[in-house]
Symmetry: C2
Subunit: 190 residues, 2 copies
Amino acid sequence: MNRIGPNVFVPPMPVALVGAIVEGKPNFMTVGWVTRVNFKPPMMAVVLNKGHYTPKGIMEHGTFSICFPPIAMEELADYCGVVSGRSVDKSKLFDIFYGDTETAPMIMDCPLNIECRLAQTIDLPTNTIYIGEVVESYCKPGCLTDGVPDITKINPLLLTMPDNRYWSIGEMAGRAFKDGLNIKEKLHGK
Amino acid sequence: MNRIGPNVFVPPMPVALVGAIVEGKPNFMTVGWVTRVNFKPPMMAVVLNKGHYTPKGIMEHGTFSICFPPIAMEELADYCGVVSGRSVDKSKLFDIFYGDTETAPMIMDCPLNIECRLAQTIDLPTNTIYIGEVVESYCKPGCLTDGVPDITKINPLLLTMPDNRYWSIGEMAGRAFKDGLNIKEKLHGK
């Protein structure tokens, strides 16, 4: 095993546009550090560097959105990560809609949008974790199969660092909570 | 946009095996809720349901590992998610190695392993977030390109829920912090 230093995060991250109303205008920033953090009630976390513009809006309204852009939106999604809402108005870039909270801007062209109410913040040295309770999720009708979001239709954008490359999803590689049962049966019987 | 309810997490998650020494034995559990949470110093978070066996070991030794299995290990990785260390000894499933902390078991056959020292826990209703400072990362020599981990060689396992399907990484879809500059130039000049 090669030691490659502690500052590496290679596993592909789903790229999200985190939306909030900042100084009266919808704003979106590109974020790679996103995960689910609680099963019941459903909660999601987004991790933002302290220097960003978006936190101001999240704290003011207590709401934010997590919008997942498709591959087709790659250039625009990257643009939202290279310019700050402090100097550029991003409110006209997208066809925006709102859900129950009325203050979490979401994107019509994103196949999957998650609307959150801020539950907790966790302060770390250079970053802050924003934990939101999921109020509602929204999926484009064409991206559902049997009423469930279908990743092959959503076609999300993945990011690896530090090589800074975007990726699409590939082939199906198995069934979770199922394929391992073969080994279980072999080792422990039925 | 279709409302699909709040309890959905579709974006693909990199599947990890979280390792810890529990009751004197190395144990690994399959986890999909993993993200980086701090830039400097590098910190990672893994989110575990409260009922699990692994937290006991993380709390006892103050260390844990995040090991990313390749597609080739799909069945074994899934197995670690369907049986608990409480009833099954998983210490012989893998060729294990240790790093500086000496108590975070890692897996020789995983192309990427991250060794963490526990920094903080955050208690949520059904889950706990374990935040670790990254002590070191380890990559298989064959999975590096110019000294940097290469996702196309690592071939990690991705998971979507609630459809519970595993996926491989697909085609490269662009360059981060670069492709957006085209739009920046168009809108704001050089």
